[in-house]
């Protein structure tokens, strides 16, 4: 077991308050470094309980068009792993509490390489990792070294993770469990609420960890419905779509960019408040 992290503390606090976690995904450096830094600083105030920061990758195989485009915008604006880690370190200077989870694909981490990445991520104030294409079968090369540095390794469980496989997936998972509500890519079809409820109940029966639901969550109403029985929801594609819709004709950030995302996060947060 890793020692208590910001993620553990945040979920404990949410439980005391009787609230569900709003987990917000944004891609590092999208649409550009300065706008992203401003956005990151605003997200906790708008109601983001946990922030997932996407590490842009040229080939985001598990992502739909919205997050693919966000990744490309970030890369085009010159985003690199060094810059992503520096952005987290800067955020930490003014926000000691909001958990940050880096999410992405293995290759940029692998070539960094792994040990250097983990050391620098821990030093920057990163709390957890979600690496989409490293399954539990490969735990010794990334998950276990991350745990040794006190980072939570957060695993995705999916509708295809059956009872036989679930224990394998949960073994070295910490922080929280991310339930992927659909078989598909991010931002695709809307999940069927009742199916999600039964699957989340199944996972909660197998772990003490908080379970959050993601993929395809777009509106406050939907977020509230999906959060029932779970400990929170993740919103990603809807936020990066809001960024895209706010851009100027050349694809540059405008005065509307940060407020567009902040307003959406506020409304989602409001919808998740206990009634």
């Amino acid at each position: 077991m890793t020692k208590e992290t910001r993620i553990d503390r945040r979920f404990a606090a949410l439980k005391t308050e009787g609230r569900k976690a709003l987990v917000c995904f944004v891609t590092a450096g999208d649409p550009d470094a300065d706008t992203f830094a401003k956005l990151l600083a605003e997200l906790p105030k708008a109601g983001a309980d946990i922030i997932e920061v996407g590490m842009p990758f040229s080939d985001p195989m598990a992502d739909g068009p919205a997050i693919q485009a966000a990744s490309l915008r970030a890369l085009k604006s010159g985003q690199t792993m060094v810059k992503t880690l520096a952005m987290v370190a800067n955020f930490r200077k003014t926000d000691p509490d909001t958990p940050i989870v880096l999410m992405g694909y293995y290759n940029p981490v692998y070539v960094y390489p792994v040990d250097k990445f983990l050391d620098e991520a821990a030093a920057a104030g990163v709390d957890g990792l979600i690496i989409v294409d490293v399954p539990p079968e490969a735990d010794e090369e990334l998950c276990l070294p991350a745990m040794e540095r006190g980072l939570n390794f957060i695993r995705l469980t999916t509708p295809t993770t059956d009872a036989k496989r679930l224990p394998t997936v949960l073994t070295n998972t910490s922080g929280f469990v991310y339930y992927v509500s659909i078989t598909g890519i991010t931002g695709a079809a809307a999940p069927v609420v009742n199916d999600v409820h039964s699957q989340v109940a199944r996972i909660k029966g197998a772990t003490e960890l908080p379970v959050v639901v993601g993929f395809g969550v777009r509106t406050g109403e939907q977020a509230a419905a999906l959060a029932k029985g779970a400990d929170g929801v993740v919103v990603g594609s809807a936020l990066v779509s809001a960024i895209k819709d706010s851009l100027g004709p050349n694809g540059d950030a405008t005065a509307k960019t940060v407020p567009a995302v902040v307003d959406l996060v506020k409304s989602l947060s409001q919808a998740l408040k206990p009634v």
Partner: protein, 423 residues
Amino acid sequence: MAGKDKKSSDAKLNSYRTGPDEQGHFGLFGGRFVAETLMPLILDLEKAYNDAKADPAFHAELTDLLTHYGGRPSPLYYAERLTEHFREVAAAQGGKGGAKIYFKRDELNHTGSHKINNTLGQILLARRMGKTRIIAETGAGQHGVAVATVCARFGLPCEIFMGATDVKRQSPNVARMYMLGAKVNAVTSGAGTLKDAMNEALRDWVTNVHDTYYIIGTAAGPHPYPELVRDFQSVIGKETREQILEREGRLPDTLVACIGGGSNAIGLFHPFLDDEGVAIYGVEAGGHGLDVENGHAASMSGGKPGVLHGNRTYLLQDADGQILEGHSISAGLDYPGVGPEHSWLKATGRVNYVPITDKEALDAFQLCARQEGIIPALEPSHALGYVTKLAPTLPRDNLLVMNMCGRGDKDVFAVAGYLGMTI
């Protein structure tokens, strides 16, 4: 990790043919790097393949199809005029050499390339698994055509993902896929080539995992694909072995094959890996030259290890781990990765991997057409490009087998364009 590496380096002393291990590793390379949604299916596929391997009925059905539908065995052809040509080249340089050139004629298979060997095997696996819908990626369209063909033959619906750039430069194959009843999805993300097609196929698969089987076209991707594609393609090397023994009474001295993902090459090489006297060359797409940044598709000669599309292997990538698009005149070689077993064979030094440029391949394409009356695909034209350099330096009794893995019908318009011909 250290323990694992040691084990594989010990193993190589005895045999190069024992991989992968149970987790799909060829030394450092290979593995199963996929999203969780796909893991249960990948594990099911592994089980289904192991069952099929042990089932004589599976082999019997596959052999029957390869023979009567695919047209196997393909001939081993003595390329007499090219042999003479290289001997003249050697003589002009003051040498006495010039290897004896054989072509393994896999371009004569049904659908025009080696790809049918693999698609017949995988469609039988898909049926065993009860899957009712087939998807595939394609670069040059040879694999797409071979998939569309077996789907028509077995009455399964089929969707092919093909980069929009490749749809343009390989239009004859696009037409063939449509005629065979396949749906062709032109992929516009990235540079619109093979890597992007593979991303999109994976996105489809993760969405339709319950009923869909993904026929990967090369010996790459998550375990067990590199192993099963290699096994299905090894018919090339097994036949070559029998045929050369019959013709020459001994094994070849030299093997040459082109490498994109590397399925035709591993198919030829694998049965010979433990024959020490056989020198083996894999020919990568050197594009505009290895010194041109992002101007080639030679992932082993000009890339470094990374993780993409389910496996760890050599990749074309920048310092930040972003995958480069690469470039090759040949759509079938225009891929920034390579099968993991090739990466391992490079690391062990068993196989030599060398680049051939667009121009060298075009020259070889024309040489082959004029000297042998065989219009090769641009992919094996790269292999021949290297034979052109190598053969004159080898002694006359050196038996060289090159895999003519595809025919050039699909390329004639593109090549005519490059040569400035008006048709």
